[in-house]
Symmetry: C2
């Protein structure tokens, strides 16, 4: 079956409602150290096992149902925790049915195509869950901050993204978009921590420091993109991410609420169990 | 750097040595309920956290090193636990750098190509780990049992597989091939258990019962393929798999020994840490 009617109302509290961004988003007004929806670190730790167990079951149902899919988009400044989220949250899912796609600087081939071309190729198949580490939003973020597209091209891109995501959702893919929102000073601490730890040097790029000079321009680009592309069918969630434990809990909880809402079902069984059992019993 | 000299000698015991299959393999002589290399279920449970932690670190090093890769091939009869292994072992790894490829009945497009064509497209990239749920070995197993290739074509296929795997290993991919070895009666129990559990009906196919009539032919095909294609560069391991806890421990341990042997290293740091630290400190 294709899913029961979603019943958000049945959830006692909804983190999705709390974190959903609207057309009135003011990023600077979102406290990056806040922890909406949960009492504290201990409460998040206590909830972890239960969330993982329910995610596991719901994901199996989604795969068994085999018609719909889930796309989790992670965006955020360098060091905001996209990789950490994948390490700590996505491991709750069955790796057989998860694909993680990291979108880096486009290749020559990718640049020669429309910006959605490389995205299209990594969409989830029926029953699958795909996680985007960066996404098509880079084409209205870094590209805008670095002036790689003229400002007058942005409205068209937003429209194209809206139309693209609408098509995805109409075809059965639920899209969850999360901005991991950290403060400029938190990023500085994390960059310094990477310098302190030789096992983290391999992921340090001096360009990350250069980009900090453009912090405000990035925040503006994020805010515009989120305001413009947070739609009913594909909402944006702004996740306070200075606290890693909160970020991990929040994304897991957002995934859980989304999957509960999708309410995937095992397909109806068509097995003639007594006959099959007899076949096995009657074997030599 | 491209890895230090492997030091198998430094391992107190090697499960790889215990489970490696040679040209003299007699599958029927391998007790599917045996548990070589570990005292029992409690000991395996106690080892689990430590193995997962070391796998995590070694995998990060492999990715950071960025030159080599790991390919885990899982083969086995229906219900032998390929999916369970992925669920319970592969989750120890960072999903960002793992790809799971399930090879099912070939599509028309795949059939129109050489049998290695679809395999080639799913090989790990530099630093990556890929898990094959079934593999190119299906083309000397199910295809042989069902007479889809003439017997005289098999030696050529074995040679092609050997040459293919040799090329992979020479290009930096370590290949670990595991046969999950269950007994015919254990399979019967597992099929009955699936019939008992309505949430498992979606993965039950009556064809699985039909195939049991060909059990001996499959065992012969497996034994021949393993004897013929267990090479120094890409050995086969026969993993007793009637006990799920043993199977999970053994595959995790085989992965661990393999990664320890590969000994991936973080690339040498080229960062001028004091200067970078000063840049961050001097910011407005």
């Amino acid at each position: 079956m294709l899913g029961a009617v979603p019943s958000v109302a049945s959830l006692p509290t909804s983190l999705r409602d709390a974190l959903r961004a609207g057309a009135d988003l003011e990023l600077a007004a979102v406290d990056t150290r806040s922890t909406p929806g949960i009492g504290g670190k201990a409460e998040a730790a206590a909830a972890r096992g239960g969330i993982a167990e329910r995610l596991d079951e719901l994901q199996e149902r989604l795969f068994a149902e085999g018609t719909r899919s889930l796309l989790l988009i992670l965006q955020g400044m360098d060091t905001s925790g996209k990789g950490g989220t994948i390490r700590h949250v996505v491991t709750a899912l069955n790796p057989a049915w998860v694909d993680v796609a990291a979108f880096k600087k486009p290749t020559d081939e990718e640049l020669a195509h429309h910006f959605l071309w490389r995205i299209e190729r990594r969409l989830p198949g029926p029953g699958g869950v795909t996680v985007f580490d960066r996404s098509h939003y880079e084409d209205v973020l870094v590209v805008r901050v670095h002036g790689l597209v003229p400002p007058e091209a942005l409205p068209t891109r937003y429209d194209e993204i809206d139309a693209f995501e609408r098509r995805l959702t109409e075809a059965g893919t639920t899209v969850v978009k999360c901005m991991l929102h950290i403060s400029r000073s938190e990023q500085k601490e994390r960059l310094l921590a990477r310098l302190d730890d030789p096992t983290k040097h391999w992921k340090f790029r001096e360009g990350d420091i250069d980009e900090r000079a453009r912090w405000d321009a990035y925040q503006e680009a994020y805010a515009d993109a989120i305001r413009r592309c947070s739609t009913d069918v594909a909402p944006w969630y702004v996740v306070p991410a200075d606290r890693k434990w909160y970020r991990n809990w929040a994304i897991a909880q957002l995934l859980l609420e989304t999957l509960e809402d999708m309410d995937p079902r095992y397909p109806p069984s068509t097995l003639d169990v007594p006959r099959l059992r007899k076949r096995l019993a009657d074997e030599r």
